[in-house]
Amino acid sequence: MSAPIDRAVWTNLVEMTGGDLAFVDDLVDTYLADGERQVAALRDGAASGSADDLIRPAHSMKSSSLNVGALGLGALCRALEEAARTGKVSDATQQVTAIATGFEEVRSALLAERAERAAG
């Protein structure tokens, strides 16, 4: 397990499912597919400079990231959501870029975990 994913949260997630790894894989697929949509939405929001367009995808990305154990990515999303809520969008483009990069790292980590598990 790589650094982008917090081991304790991840373990907790697996335990919550009763160790049903097939379901965990499903859940991760859902997270990744939705994450791509949210990153795209954030990019659009940053391009338009509209705070309202940033709040919801940042919020959504934050909660699912925290639940999957991507605490660093979750923190980035929270920072963006809070900034957007106060109408501060000057740093939005950099923040979205950081989130996109963070999301790619989380994706790699999650897929690596799955590959390791498959390799036994």
Partner: protein, 554 residues
């Protein structure tokens, strides 16, 4: 991706955790990951998750009356389309949804929003970083609240419906249709049936007496197909065994043969409750559902209660029928007024004796003794029948109380037991009608060689009225001077003559043409009394003329 797919891929059946009652939980969250995770966890706790992506979808599902009802809502706050606050506001304004417990899903950094949601009516909140133990505790407590509310509402509902039926029964105790309609309506509603019928035994078959919830086609079919005791129908089985019969799925029941009706109605689950009256199955209350969903214990108990109310209704109706029949039979022996007395609550007091102003009319035949001695007995009886029938119908028409027929003598009272302000006038009108009818009867008998004419006496005054006689043989009659006087005046009357006492004359003066007919010394009266003779009206002259002729002839 849906939670359903997630659940399917896991290949596991819901794990029922014994400590919590399963409920249907609506998960409202725009993040698929969260929905999928929550749905999975809920399923693991034995609940049934239903998902909505935003507030609009959630409300649409909640208001879909065709869908199974939701017990608890898990609500995210930040959502597109319609957010959590808007959903809470809508729920608060909707009487049908107001009571649903809402658990707000919130991040630790959103406590301000949680406070706002709780103020808007949310029942509880759940941290966004899901913890199965907390989820379980929150759902369990909200479900308990919901069930308590449901149970209260159901109890209130049942009480109200039961009160309604009782009120209808006390208001229309003897109107069986009204009672059965109310019973079936309440039973369908409270037992959550789609259709209900009360069958009542009529001859050898059970026929529809009331129904609720069915289409006109189904009602018509059931009405046209009475059921007989037997194994082939639920009603038949109830009638056969006299016990509650429940069929969970009628299509799986091999003995069930009432299939055409089933096809019209489309029902699957049936329950039949005997309506017992004096140990006999006098009816059956049947309830049906159009899906396979057996009636629960509480519903069965309710249905039995309604069947008991129907039984009381039927018993009351039969009692009324019996009383009416007895009154009808009594009326053949007694005057209708007296028959009414015997079967009415006030009757006993009146029968015990009371003093009242009445008008008594006594009517008998001149020359009857001669006639009965000279004519054949069959002739005499034939004549009497005709005479009694004629006078009897006039008594009914003028609403008099017939005291007795004694050979040729007939005694009728007015103003008792029923009050009649115009009792004297009624008596005189009836006397004139008797005399008029008698013209034809007299003609007919004169042709056969018999001279028969009526003489009528009428008197008004106080008399003591009531039951006269002894145990086993009572008459309704009176004691008083007016009655004796009427009888004496009738004896005094010439053929075709109607004689009135002074008080009767005073009461009808101006309404009927009458003239003084002198003073008469009557048996039992110490001094001579003034007597009046009715002169007026049609048929009078002819009758008088004939009487004169007859009198000369005899």
């Amino acid at each position: 991706m849906s939670a359903a797919k997630g659940g399917a891929s896991s290949g596991s059946a819901p794990i029922h955790n014994g400590s919590s009652v399963p409920g249907r939980v609506l998960v409202v969250d725009d993040t698929p990951f969260n929905r999928q995770l929550l749905a999975r966890l809920l399923r693991g706790l034995g609940h049934e998750p239903v998902e909505a992506e935003d507030g609009r979808q959630a409300l649409a599902r909640l208001r879909d009356t065709g869908a199974p009802p939701i017990d608890v809502i898990l609500l995210d706050i930040v959502m597109p389309e319609m957010d959590g606050y808007q959903v809470l506001a809508e729920l608060r304004d909707d009487a049908a949804l107001r009571h649903l417990p809402v658990i707000v899903i919130s991040g630790v950094d959103e406590l301000d929003s949680v406070v706002r949601c709780l103020e808007m009516g949310a029942a509880d909140y759940l941290p966004k970083t899901v913890d199965p133990a907390i989820l379980k505790a929150r759902i369990t407590s909200s479900l308990a609240r919901k069930r308590l509310h449901d149970a209260e509402r159901e109890a209130v509902d049942r009480q109200a419906a039961s009160n309604e039926v009782l009120a209808i029964m006390s208001r229309s105790a003897f109107d069986l249709q009204v009672v059965l309609d109310a019973v079936v309506r309440a039973a369908v509603r409270l037992c959550r049936a789609d259709y209900g019928v009360a069958y009542v035994l009529d001859g050898d078959a059970y026929r529809v007496a009331a129904s609720a919830g069915g289409t006109p086609e189904l009602d018509a079919w059931e009405r046209d197909h009475p059921l007989r005791p037997g194994r082939d129908s639920v009603v038949g089985r109830v009638a056969l065994i006299g016990q509650v019969i429940a069929v969970d799925d009628v299509l799986a029941d091999r003995e069930y043969q009432a299939t055409p009706g089933q096809q019209v109605g489309g029902y699957r689950t049936l329950i039949g409750i005997p309506i017992e009256e004096a140990g006999a199955i006098s009816g059956v209350l049947a309830l049906t559902r159009n899906e396979v969903r057996p009636f629960g214990e509480a519903e069965r108990a309710l249905a039995i209660g309604f069947a008991e109310q129907a039984a009381i209704g039927i018993a009351n109706a039969r009692l009324l029928e019996t009383i009416e029949r007895q009154r009808g039979q009594l009326a053949r022996f007694l005057s209708p007024q007296v028959a009414q007395l015997v079967s009415s609550p006030e009757g006993e007091a009146l029968l015990a004796g009371h003093r009242r102003e009445i008008t008594a009319m006594f009517c008998d035949l001149r020359n009857f003794t001669t006639f009965s001695e000279s004519a054949e007995p069959e002739e005499v009886l034939g004549f009497l029948r005709r005479y009694h029938a004629t006078v009897g119908s006039l008594v009914v028409e003028h609403e008099g109380t017939l005291e007795h027929f004694a050979g040729d003598g007939i005694m009728v009272f007015f103003n008792d037991p029923a009050f009649q302000d115009d009792h004297a006038a009624r008596a005189v009108r009836m006397a004139m009608a008797v005399r008029e009818r008698f013209v034809d009867i007299g003609d007919e008998w004169r042709r056969r060689g018999h001279v028969l004419q009526v003489g009528i006496g009428i008197a008004t005054g106080y008399a003591t009225m009531g039951r006269i006689g002894f145990e086993g043989r009572y008459d309704y009659g009176g004691v008083g001077n007016a009655i004796i006087l009427a009888s004496r005046l009738s004896g005094e009357a010439a053929a075709g003559e109607i004689l009135l006492s002074q008080r009767t004359f005073a009461a009808v003066d101006g309404q009927v043409a009458a003239e003084p007919a002198g003073e008469r010394q009557l048996k039992g009266f110490s001094r001579p009394l003034p007597v009046f003779r009715v002169t007026g009206r049609s048929g009078e002259d002819r009758a008088v003329a004939e009487v004169a002729t007859a009198a000369e002839a005899s």
